[in-house]
């Protein structure tokens, strides 16, 4: 009989669980080479499931709030017949924003390729910051200060976040409208200025005066589609509302075809834009009616079509007249439209014409569609990158959970371009592995008191449409008793990228170590670290560590940053960040 083609063998093997693959290494030399001969590649996964990022705001009133709230990542099981929002407490990825974003308010802007743009407003002093964050890897960066910033409450700041289709550069557009210049001089007429920040450049560029007064979706941002950010123009009351776009390739603002609406209808109500199923949509919320216009073919005025109308008859759960804008965020395969309305998450079902309150999450939230996938590229090193802490659960015993394959999935994307090269197998297998968890049971507390450190456990998840089950078969279990190698120290789980785990070990008040370990092969390696990630295009794993400079005489001591690239044997110093 003929041999099976390698492509077919790889395809079949990549669908097997990791345990079987280890068996398969024993089948023959060719297979072993297929499986072993593999460094990781760093293209992102295009097959990620749809999800949402939900921002649960703190309960207090907006104006005296000092708690920025929590970000949650919710996966959607999206089928033609039904949908389900997964937010399993074991699997959840809740980012507690409090430690890094104290005394400020946070607003979700937009999400592009797995990166989200957040805006931070401080209450006192009245300032604002822009963040780009990857919630899956928990990396974030703060953009440098822009020329015009918030000083009172009357300024209008409107954002756009997107990626240039020509150069692949990520850009943040920020338009500022206010009466006060940074030097404190009153300036009339109103300043309307736009600035752009290209990730990796380290500074904002002025785009000069904006030709239009922009209003974003939810007032703050212009949704990104097709290489452009889109806003509604705040124009005079007698003409229909116009749309405007910013071309991320050419860096220019221009007018954009708007729906065929009459001027009168247009002035009242709330008007917003959204991207649903790859189409630009305009959502008008009036007192007794909501309508969703869809632009079927991008840029073609005639293709605007009134797709959905929600009227008073369909929902008794809502209080009419409406006093908040409905903001659709995603259309699911069963036709349901997920939307945020009055700070709650709703699903509108067009077939049954009903509005369902999804009571799964605490009210007082905002949300946006999210697909994991992006990495902050290496070129952005000059911007500060830190890791957000997970929300702690438990009291004396800390349990940290990270999803093994979701981290791994990020690497995988356009498999076609990688065909026939060895890493192809690793990618394919990662993309097909079921999700699993690494659970660390670590006892916290007093360092001077030696105690058992705990265990790392590997738990496989058996996920079916109608149920799920966490496997922790004692035969299969891969419990690493970390006490034996890390005696008399405090250990914490730092990060996890494509199957490698990074642990930090505090030996006493003075010393610390970092261990890298692969729980599957049980190989470990000691390094110093406090950030851990993979650089997408070149496939390097990098560790980052921030520590106090013991030679520094100033108090508090100056902070130093060190970066280590796995395999190079030495670290390199990075410029010291201003904020930690």
């Amino acid at each position: 009989m003929e041999d099976l083609p390698a492509e077919l063998t790889i395809d079949i093997l990549s669908r097997l669980p990791i345990k079987t693959i280890i068996h398969c290494k024993r089948v023959c030399k060719k297979w072993r080479n297929l499986v072993l001969d593999s460094s990781f590649v760093d293209l992102h996964l295009s097959r990620s499931p749809t999800g949402l990022i939900i921002h649960i705001k703190p309960e207090r009133s907006v104006y005296d709030c000092t708690d920025p709230g929590i970000l949650k990542w919710v996966e959607i099981e999206d089928k033609v017949n039904h949908h389900h929002l997964h937010h399993d407490p074991l699997m959840r990825l809740d980012l507690d924003l409090t430690p890094i974003l104290q005394n400020s308010m946070i607003f979700l802007m937009d999400s592009v390729n797995g990166l989200i743009c957040l805006c931070q407003y401080f209450v006192t002093p009245k300032e604002d910051n822009t963040y780009i964050c990857n919630p899956i890897t928990r990396e974030y960066m703060i953009l440098p200060s822009q020329r015009y910033y918030r000083e009172s409450s009357s300024e209008v700041i409107v954002y756009g976040f997107g990626v240039s289709s020509r150069t692949g550069e990520y850009k943040v557009i920020r338009t500022f409208r206010g009466d006060v210049l940074p030097d404190g001089n009153k300036s009339y007429p109103t300043v309307v200025e736009a600035e752009a920040y290209t990730l990796g450049t380290g500074q904002w560029r002025s785009l000069g005066r904006v030709p239009y007064l922009l209003n974003g979706s939810h007032g703050f941002y212009g949704p990104f589609l097709n290489g452009h950010c889109h806003w509604i123009i705040h124009d005079n009351e007698n003409s229909p509302r116009k749309l405007c776009t910013f071309d991320l390739d050419k860096d220019t603002f221009q007018l954009f075809p708007s729906p065929p609406e009459s001027a009168q209808v247009n002035w009242f109500g709330y008007h917003g834009l959204a991207v649903l199923k790859g189409c630009l949509c305009k959502i008008n919320t009036y007192d007794f009616e909501v309508m969703i216009w869809v632009m079927k073919e991008y840029g073609i005025k005639k293709s605007w079509h009134k797709e959905v109308v929600i009227t008073q008859e369909i929902s008794v759960d809502i209080e009419w007249p409406l006093c908040d804008a409905m903001s659709p965020i995603e259309v699911l395969k069963d036709g349901s439209i997920l939307m945020v309305f009055e700070d709650k998450l709703w699903a509108f079902h067009p077939r049954s014409e009903t509005m369902e309150d999804i009571k799964k999450f605490d009210p007082d939230l905002s949300a946006m569609a999210y697909r994991p996938g992006g990495c902050l590229p290496n070129a952005y090193a000059q911007s500060l990158r830190l890791h957000l802490p997970y929300q702690d659960c438990g009291k004396n015993e800390r349990i940290e959970i990270k999803c093994l394959t979701d981290a791994g999935k990020r690497v995988n994307s356009d498999l076609k371009t990688q065909k026939q090269t060895p890493p192809y197998f690793v990618n394919l297998h990662l993309s097909r592995s079921p999700p699993s968890l690494i659970i660390s049971r670590l006892t916290g507390g007093d360092l001077s008191n030696p105690r058992k450190l705990g265990i790392l456990e590997w738990v496989e998840i058996d996920e079916k449409l109608d149920r799920h089950h966490l496997h922790h078969d004692p035969v299969m279990s891969l419990d690493l008793n970390i006490s034996s190698i890390l005696r008399n120290s405090k250990v914490s789980l730092l990060g996890l990228v494509i199957g490698l785990i990074c642990l930090s070990q505090l030996v006493g008040p003075e010393g610390d170590n970092t261990c890298m370990c692969n729980p599957i092969t049980r190989k470990d390696d000691s390094r110093m670290v406090c950030g851990f990630g993979i650089v997408p295009m070149i496939g390097e794993y990098k560790l980052k560590r921030t520590f106090e400079d013991s030679n520094s005489t100033s108090r508090p001591r100056q902070l130093k940053v060190e970066v280590y690239i796995l395999g190079t044997g030495h670290g390199e110093d990075w410029p010291c960040p201003l904020l930690v």
Partner: protein
Amino acid sequence: MSKKTLTLMSKDKQLFNIEEHLAVQSVTIRNMVKEDGASSVIPLPRVDSETLALVIEYLNRQQAPEEDEDYVKKFVDERGEIPTLLELAQAALDLDIKKLMDAACMKVADLIKDFTLEEVREALRIENDRTPEEEKAIRDEFQWAF
């Protein structure tokens, strides 16, 4: 307009007719049709007649798009023999019919998941070229998996 028919020829020189609009689900055939109009017989020198008959049955399916996924699954499930599935997967690979190849490979993976080494070798026509020492080394490295 009458529907255009294509003729496919298997390894053992049997001829099969299929309507062109169905045949072009295969990317390979689509490209051939695009290039030279594919007026004559299309030879498939690596696909035997039994397998080609299956492929044609699959291409001729009349499923609504939303039922298609279930249909493909059922289609390969009913032909649950590994040798048949491998032939089918190989034909789907040659003809570039992604859904069929995915389903067939998935089914094979499901079947061999719990096989012993010997069974895997036999099922996938592989000769053992590992020495006992090499096998032991892997066994030691991944003790937990055995």
